[in-house]
Symmetry: C2
Subunit: 329 residues, 2 copies
DNA sequence: ATCGTAACTGTAATCGATTACAATTTTGTA
DNA sequence: TACAAAATTGTAATCGATTACAGTTACGAT
């Protein structure tokens, strides 16, 4: 593969001039430009990003941190990030931590080693202390999950309000025994959604019963199945379930069906995220729709601004309750 | 951020020695090593990949090309690729083409520009001519989708056989009117699966009827819904459907349910890929399981070998028919 | 013809690492 | 003690681009 020297030699100019042509500098005469362009074509030359990046001290890569690629919640966000990145001549490094600190470390090092110009973290399991340390020297944006009282810029939704509305919806439909399938409350979003759940119950003078609050380890379908299995074994079964993720809700739905019960007649279900599959279940799933694509776009724009050195503001986006069959027959 | 010179100065040694410490070269005395390590710690130094990559003429990034991240079929493959990459000190650049040639071009250029050391393409819509051109100068591996009679190394399964077995399974259950929901037959896997479908029908002297073969544009759930909608409008409805992807099959399942029909009693359904959702539908989906994780591992290993300059052989992996509720009540 | 200015081009330093080769120090042995 | 060999360290070139600055050329005005 040819390099810039060879192009310069072939065109009979200096490497500086070739570089100017490559970067569309205005001060190159048309004749010279033509000579260089011909040489580039003849040699099939492609500039090496390695040289350019070193000289410019940038990689034009954005690191996107997420716990697992298999949760469809992230796919639309990633689309938004990626489109925005490309529109700004960046690209993204998609990094799955599997909630494994060792993995996380590898990725943090990639940033420290200048292999990425900044980070968007969507990982609730991220080590916040280390992330904050990283943020002292490198741009970092939080997407969806953030740190209460922290100083890292974020884009998210109002989780408490969304949960409140979801549960209120169930109450309005006549449900009085509403269970919560939550994930681990070490996560901020889990605590916030629980707060929303409790606020709605209190507002309507419904009791908050601990045996109706189930915590899952992960957000896989299977965790939803297990959660519902437990709930169905209770003496006093709930008549409705609010799950903090569609994947959990779909697992729950599956388990209800397995037991020959009917959704929503026996048990109503509301999920969270509006993943594409939520419209394909039987019955279709009532859920909270987050503006995932837009969230991705905004996160990417925030990060790019931050890399440029601009100040960025936190953003809270609107959500929407999508009512489908799983809550109303 | 400190660089290697500053570390060298602080430690009172040359940059060469610092580099040796960084790379664990054996010929550094314990005393010197200690001095250098202290300097590194004191300065909070992290080596820049930009410099290292330029010097080594490598990026240690593998480019993974796929049409869309939202098809869950890819997620397990990606896991396999990523784990293998990390184990070999590589990382992956996940690149969604959206089947958009312009996007594709951007990614091809990243390889030409040395931003990635090689490519794993899982994109059936890829421009094979351009990919072949790229392969003249850069390592390229095909994963899952490959080129018949082409010269690019690949890892895949026997699509024709898998489809044959899936359809044979339906026949053995007594189905005689079996429809095929296929994707565009410009894709090799689609042609191969159709061949398998037809081979099974012929073997049992069942007629091949064109109105029972539906072609979808994409592989989204919605395409499956549409396909099934068409099939249900036929005068003579099929009693079973083989869909070449679980996403299509799940869409089809949804549409059958919507029409008040029962799966599998009225219509049996078999999918392809064994995505994690396929076990969560109601009824659960009979499908062909591809060894996705292993396929990813193998593809990554092939690519890394190829980057090293080793010769690599094509590999065809085993698949498995997973029988669930959607084919047998 | 001369000069000043604008337009263009080249020289060489630079980004931050690696490494061949040379130089130095240490070690072991006679 | 002296010397060869081995171990350790340093010098400087190198990867492939960008760019400040200097140098050259072209051209219109006087």
């Amino acid at each position: 593969m040819a390099n810039i020297q060879q192009v310069a030699q072939k065109a009979g100019v200096s490497v500086a001039t070739v570089s100017r042509v490559l970067n569309n500098a205005p001060s190159v005469s048309p004749k010279t430009r033509l000579k260089v362009e011909n040489a580039i074509r003849d040699l099939n030359y492609e500039p090496s990003m390695l040289g350019r990046n070193l000289r410019n001290s940038e990689s034009r890569l954005l690191l996107v941190l997420l716990p697992s690629i298999s949760n469809p919640f992230y796919t639309e966000i990633i689309n938004g990030i990626q489109n925005t990145a490309i529109a700004n001549s960046y690209n993204i490094l998609l990094c799955e931590t599997d909630s494994n600190p060792q993995r996380e470390n590898i990725y943090f090092n990639m940033v420290k080693n200048k292999l990425a110009d900044g980070v968007i973290s969507m990982d609730p399991t991220v080590n916040m202390q280390k992330l904050n340390e990283l943020a002292e020297n490198h741009p970092v944006i939080l997407c969806s999950e953030y740190e209460e009282g922290g100083c890292l810029p974020y884009v998210t939704i109002d989780n408490e309000l969304a949960a409140y509305q979801a549960v209120k919806h169930l109450i309005k439909l006549g449900n009085e025994k509403i269970a919560l399938i939550n994930s681990d409350e070490k996560f901020l979003y889990a605590r916030q959604r629980r707060n929303g759940y409790e606020r709605a119950l209190k507002e309507f003078n419904l009791p908050i019963r601990n045996e109706w609050i189930y915590h899952t380890k992960d957000l896989d379908f299977q965790n939803g199945v297990q959660a519902m299995r437990m709930l169905l074994q209770l003496d006093e079964k709930p008549s409705a379930v609010f799950a903090v993720s569609d994947t959990l809700a779909i697992g729950a739905l599956k388990e209800v069906n397995m037991n020959g019960l009917h959704v929503p007649n026996d048990i109503a279900i509301v999920g969270f995220d509006n993943i594409s599959f939520s419209n394909m279940t039987n019955p279709t799933l009532t859920t909270i729709s987050q503006p995932m694509y837009r969230m991705g776009v905004i996160a990417a724009n925030m990060l790019i601004s931050s890399i440029k050195g601009d100040k960025v503001e936190n953003i809270i986006l609107d959500h929407e309750l999508i009512i489908r069959e799983s809550s109303m027959g």
